[in-house]
């Protein structure tokens, strides 16, 4: 699967309170959550989203709360993947579990600039930056996690394994 789009770039320690503020957690409605995604971090997020659908960020992306509403609101907004130097543990789990592609690559995250058009090839594990022709290899994910991703998320994976 190849994901190709332009990049919105953010900094280090993007926490779950700015991804989706707690004042909106009185609902589990995905559309509504998505409409407030990144509201406190970047007022122009929705505007940028029209032509940029990959997020590239610094270290510890998604730190803070365990709210699955964070990756859900990102996914529902239409963001296709998040690349970061590193991810906070619970956010990373949640993203894998709901099927939002998350890629930890320090090299790629530091090189890629806001607005760059990039191509992520998840099967061969390569990120290409079309601005600079930079090529970045992604460390392969553990087998188990690849299986979860292939099933389309943790719930599907469990359902598949129960039905086997």
């Amino acid at each position: 699967m190849i994901i190709k789009d332009r990049v919105i770039k953010y900094g280090n320690n993007i926490d779950t309170d700015v991804i989706i503020p707690a004042r909106y957690l009185n609902t589990a409605d995905r559309r509504e959550l998505a409409s407030h995604c990144f509201e406190d971090l970047d007022k122009d997020f929705k505007e940028k989203m029209k032509e940029k659908k990959i997020i590239v960020a610094g270290s510890n992306f998604g730190c803070g709360s365990s709210r699955e509403h964070a990756p859900l609101s990102i996914k529902e907004s239409g963001i296709k993947a998040v690349i970061a130097v590193s991810f906070a543990r619970i956010f990373f789990r949640n993203a894998i579990n709901i099927g939002l592609p998350v890629i930890a690559s320090e090299e790629a995250a530091k090189h890629i600039e806001d607005g760059d058009e990039i191509e992520i090839d998840l099967s061969s594990g390569v990120i290409k930056d079309n601005r600079s022709d930079g090529i970045f290899r992604i460390n392969p994910l553990p087998d188990f996690i690849q299986k979860v991703i292939k099933s389309g998320g943790y719930i599907n994976y469990i359902r598949d394994s129960v039905n086997k």
Partner: protein, 433 residues
């Protein structure tokens, strides 16, 4: 002269840290290695009014007949409760109906509810040696009892509720050895803020944090819960203390003693060991907008504040209320601010009432609330306006955490919070007593 052989490390060294031992015990193994992914059984699965509605949706998709064990699923409506608006009422209703439908034993309705991470240990639901997951990031709090507990998402909670199992990556361990005497007014909060200041908000990313050393044995259980609680603020997966006499005394009235006490092997592998001298640590404040921005409170001058919050799963326990009462007794809080005190559970509330603390708080001009997360996450009961500033005993000072994105939260322990309430600006107890 013959040299001692160098001790073999790596795969030949089967010594384990406590986190490894607990995980190994829960997947029928003697040994698990760091970085390995295992499918382990869990002892408790927790959820709240924010995370459960999504977990319930996902649970239904699995198509399981019921939960894996009706006594091991715990549900606590504590975030937006008593229901702050119609939407949160709907969320709570969903969880209440699910609890009824699946006959969940440990569903805590408003009236017996407390903030989940104060409530579960108090009720004896989490015990040494357990492996616990909760759809709430501060589930790591229970590590104070010599167990491994960690926050997960709603989908994880759904799978764990249905199957009693979950995937875990076995973490590496970082050890913190605290020595030296504690300074006056210094509690677990100051130690943990100092520690996060030292290692940063991702200083223990994906790691198990082990808190040990002679100073730790002098800490109260309440202070230990505070420290384990904030392991996640350094990115940690677990924040574990080993069981000692204080732990056993705490558990005496809460369990039948049927639990397994584990400790790290003497030659366990640690990724890093930090030696921290507590006599260097004064009352701490973490300034906006990261918990790692810790400074000595006495070095923060002239920061005027609009609100003080004493409560939360971090510092809403007896020790915290006692310190606040000691400082506020016979004084008035500053006219220019609001002080909100939230005992974390009904039992703590009642005990504070019996001890006369609640009267002290009310006479000094504080508001005392029923247990709730409330302002900690900017939910209700003390949301900040744009430009306002709070000193709070909670655990996060991210942008917008307590309300308006232009408001600010300064994190502290109960002593600085109470002193600041009197002074109207960030202050240490010595300035107001």
């Amino acid at each position: 002269m013959r040299k001692e052989p160098i001790k073999e490390m790596g795969s030949d060294n089967r010594a384990q840290a406590i986190a490894q031992k607990i995980i190994a015990n829960h997947c029928d193994r003697d040994y698990v290695s760091e970085g390995e992914i295992v499918n382990a059984s869990v002892d408790i699965v927790l959820g709240n009014d924010i995370t459960m509605p999504i977990a319930i949706e996902e649970f239904k998709k699995i198509g399981a007949d019921g939960v894996f064990d009706r006594e091991k699923v715990v549900m606590v409506p504590d975030h937006f409760t008593p229901n702050k608006d119609i939407k949160s009422a709907q969320q709570c209703k969903l969880m209440r109906e699910f609890a009824g439908e699946y006959n969940i034993k440990n569903y805590f309705e408003v009236g017996s509810m407390g903030i989940e991470h104060a409530l579960l240990p108090e009720m004896g639901l989490v015990l040494p040696g357990n492996l616990v997951v909760g759809a709430d990031s501060h589930t790591c709090t229970y590590g104070a009892l010599g167990l491994a507990s960690t926050g997960v998402g709603s989908t994880d909670a759904a799978v764990a509720m249905a199957t009693g199992k979950l995937w875990f990556m076995v973490p590496r361990t970082v050890k913190f050895i605290y020595s030296g005497d504690l300074n006056k007014w210094v509690t677990g909060k100051d130690l943990i803020l100092y520690t996060i200041g030292l290692i940063g908000v991702d200083g223990a990313l994906y790691k198990s944090m082990e808190f040990s050393g002679p100073a730790v044995s002098r800490l109260s259980m309440d202070s230990r819960f505070t420290m384990s609680n904030m392991a996640i603020e350094a990115g940690g997966k677990f924040g574990i203390f080993e069981v000692d006499d204080k732990t056993r005394a705490y558990l005496k009235e809460r369990s039948d003693g049927n639990y397994e006490v584990l400790s790290s092997d003497a030659d366990a592998k640690y990724e890093k060991i930090y030696n921290i001298d507590c006599s260097d640590i004064e009352s701490q404040v973490a300034v906006p907008h990261l918990p790692s921005n810790a400074k000595s409170a006495r070095d923060i001058k002239n920061v005027e504040i609009d609100q003080v919050v004493i409560g939360s799963c971090t510092n809403g326990r007896m020790e915290d209320l006692k310190i606040a009462a000691e400082i506020l007794k016979g004084k008035r809080v500053n006219n220019n601010l609001r002080t909100i005190i939230i005992p974390a559970t009904q039992n703590i509330y009642l005990e504070a009432l019996k001890k006369g603390y609640i009267e002290i708080f009310i006479k000094s001009g504080c508001v005392v609330s029923t247990p709730t997360c409330g302002p900690c996450l900017g939910g209700h009961m003390g949301v900040l306006a744009g430009g306002e500033r709070a000193v709070s005993t909670t655990n996060r000072n991210f942008v917008g955490r307590m309300g308006h994105p232009d408001s600010e939260v300064y994190l502290s322990g109960p002593a600085v919070a109470a002193a600041s309430a009197i002074a109207g600006r960030i202050a240490i107890p010595e300035e107001v007593m």
